[in-house]
């Protein structure tokens, strides 16, 4: 049983880091602009499909397709930003409807371009086994992108906390007019926020393509997962995203081992509700208020 629990915790940690990677882009835009980008999952999927095309047509390794995928996804996210910027009234609510619509359009565009067939990376290296201490098993891709998830969470946190642009972004989120008076260009910082979110979506897409299976209908589920983690974390909290994602991953994985996989999504939702009941501002939202 100890072996089972150990593997379960290990799988949960890897899943958590992967979830964090997916949620970070959505959390960043949500935290800085109060915009919930409901097309975020579709953008992740777009990155995955660009990687698939590069591998299938050009024979590129999925990691080597990163620059190409970055260009496509960031450009797509810029279009999303442009459309959101046209909203003059009730941006929080109207952006929800707008990005939901963009998500539907993207899903159908991917369906038309790439068909509904399932795809996954064919480079064997990504799926080779890694065995740690003779008891913990994973795929190479899972370890690589879990590491990428942790590093990117740290990098985004550092960027927001320690750099001028990061502070400018938080200032715009806090009080747009006051930030303007301080010489911050709100439009530029928001564009930057969407560009970084596009970068994060692209890396998530590569993780998805190499370690899992992609199909056009997956985007919505990714958005929902990312949204749950964002709320769980506490709005605007980057470390909260990592903690919330890992917590979710571990709870889901332990549920499979101790009870049944059929209950893992339910367990995740119960965790979500319990956290919100006890800490209505999310894991790190309350901690910040106390501070």
């Amino acid at each position: 049983m100890i072996d089972l629990i150990a593997q379960s915790l290990f799988s949960g940690l890897l899943s958590g880091a992967y979830y964090a990677l997916i949620a970070l882009g959505l959390a960043l835009v949500f935290g800085t602009m109060r915009v919930i980008n409901l097309a975020h999952g579709e953008l992740v999927l777009l990155g995955a499909y660009v990687s698939y095309t590069a591998e299938e047509r050009l024979g590129l390794d999925p990691l080597a397709s990163l620059p190409l995928a970055l260009m496509v996804v960031i450009a797509a996210n810029m279009v999303v930003y442009y459309l959101i910027s046209l909203i003059k009234k009730d941006r929080e609510l109207n952006s929800l409807i707008l990005t939901f619509g963009i998500g539907v359009i993207l899903t159908n565009a991917m369906l038309m371009i790439w068909s509904a067939d399932i795809h996954s990376a064919t480079t064997p290296w990504y799926h080779d086994a890694v065995i740690l201490f003779d008891t913990l098993f994973a795929m190479q891709a899972e370890l690589v992108f879990a590491g990428a998830g942790v590093v990117l969470v740290g990098a985004v946190w550092w960027w927001l906390e320690k750099t001028w642009y990061g502070r400018a972004l938080r200032a715009v989120a806090s009080n747009r007019d006051a930030a303007k008076l301080m010489g911050v260009d709100p439009r530029l910082t928001e564009i930057l926020s969407f560009a970084v979110a596009g970068l994060l979506a692209t890396v998530s897409g590569l993780a998805l393509y190499t370690a899992k299976v992609i199909q056009p209908s997956l985007g919505h589920n990714l958005t929902v997962k990312a949204f749950i983690i964002t709320v769980l974390a506490g709005i605007g909290s980057v470390p909260g995203v990592l903690l919330g994602a890992v917590l979710l991953g571990v709870v889901e994985s332990l549920t499979v081992t101790i009870a049944s996989s059929a209950l893992q999504e339910l367990a995740g939702m119960v965790l979500f509700l319990v956290v919100l009941l006890l800490m209505p501002s999310g894991l790190f939202g309350r901690a910040k208020r106390r501070g």
Binding site: L4, T107, S115, A116, D117, H127, A129, P216, S260, S261
Partner: protein, 388 residues
């Protein structure tokens, strides 16, 4: 004119009318099918079979023609009901298509209310044929899939099986049938349900490896589930002798897309790959399919073709009998007993095809070899045989 002359004239006119040939009809058939959403891939493949059946019918019938009106149900039960109602309003006399028992259920009830036949191969849950509907027909069922798996296990003398199954209605039903059927034969069965959103199967495979220690693993899910399960199994390498599954597994697409995962994996299959067609009808079907879609047919296309062909033939006979609008299609389908590309088909009072039994195919060297039953086999099963 005397009354005698009038009577004779009336009788002569009636005789003439009765003897007049039935006019050729354009039979409008509605295809309600998922072309977008989560079931888009399977819906698209079935739709190809429907198009081929239409092409072949129109080429061969010589009298009636079929016009297909297609509506995407977007993989949604509510949209499927709307599609059926819209298709009926557009003049459809019957419906072919449908995928997913949870979608087919309400869609076929809408068809029943309209008094029109609903024909499918996309919903295998037994509940569908226990509703007492008079206009619902399907050519396959859960029993046929479970029978094939149990038949193969029986032939191999397997004594213990771990069943990994999705909690969707159809997959859960096949899994329960396996549990009951294999249990009755003294086979030790352990069950592992998984949520359809699951994409990391390592914890399940690890439990199977350390606790269950079965001789075989049965996967009852869909393509993305199979890939996840096989990848997890390839990493954890449980000490089993064979790994099997049901639909969408022993297919040319899986052989081409995931060659590193599929070797020695078995699944239900109607055809070997590359396909070997023996009857004239099957050869014509394959040729038309190749011409229309520039590829070899897969099992979903074959099912779509068979269900539609049977429906078109029944509609044509009903048109000949002048009963098209009077429940004639259902009557003609109930009279149907025929050999098809998937084997014998007849319909019982519930619209089920009790003759349906699937075959089992195994991936071997990039091909799919039919390995069960013996009379349909195109090769021998590799046992023990695993992808790693």
């Amino acid at each position: 004119m005397s009354s005698t002359k009038i009577t004779v004239s009336m009788i002569a006119l009636a005789a003439l009318l009765a003897a007049a040939p039935v006019r050729a009809a354009e039979l409008k058939i509605g295809a309600e099918i998922p072309l977008s959403g989560s079931l888009a891939r399977v819906g698209g493949a079935m739709n190809e079979g429907i198009q081929v059946a239409t092409e072949m019918f129109n080429k061969k019938n010589g009298k009636h023609t079929v016009k297909i009106i297609t509506m995407d149900d977007e993989s949604s039960p509510a949209k499927a009901v709307g599609a059926v109602e819209k298709l009926a309003a557009d003049g459809a006399v019957a419906f072919t298509g449908g995928y997913g028992s949870n979608i087919i259920g309400p869609a076929s009830e809408a068809a029943e209310k309209l008094g029109k036949v609903y024909m499918t191969s996309g919903g295998v849950a037994s509940e569908l044929t226990k509703r007492g509907l008079k206009t619902f027909f399907r050519i396959n069922s859960s029993e046929g899939y479970a029978r094939a798996l149990m038949g193969l296990y029986g032939e191999l003398g397997i004594k213990s099986v771990a069943v990994i199954y999705s909690t969707k209605e159809a997959t859960e039903e096949v899994a329960k049938m396996l549990e009951t059927g294999l249990g009755a034969k003294g086979v030790k069965v352990t069950m592992h349900a998984f949520d359809p959103a699951t994409n990391d199967f390592k914890p399940i495979i690890h439990k199977i490896k350390l606790q269950d220690r079965p001789e075989a693993i049965a996967m009852i899910g869909y393509e993305n589930d199979y890939v996840g399960i096989l990848r997890a199994a390839k990493i954890l390498k449980p000490d089993i002798k064979t790994i099997t599954g049901v639909w969408s597994l022993a297919t040319s697409k899986m052989a081409q897309e995931f060659p590193d995962l599929m070797e020695n994996v078995s699944g239900t299959s109607t055809l070997s790959y590359p396909a070997e067609f023996t009857t004239q009808e099957a050869k014509d079907f394959a040729e038309t399919y190749q011409k229309m879609f520039n590829k070899a047919p897969d099992y979903l296309g074959i099912f779509g073709y068979v269900q539609s062909k049977l429906l078109f033939d029944a509609a044509a006979r009903a048109a000949d009998a002048g009963t098209l609008d009077k429940g004639g299609i259902a009557t003609e389908l109930r009279k149907t007993v025929t050999d098809t590309v998937i084997g014998k088909v007849r319909f019982d009072q519930n619209g089920d095809n009790p003759e349906f039994t699937h075959r089992m195919g195994q991936h071997q060297g990039g091909k799919v070899v039919l390995v069960w039953p013996a009379d349909a086999a195109t090769g021998k099963i590799k046992y023990p045989g695993l992808p790693w």
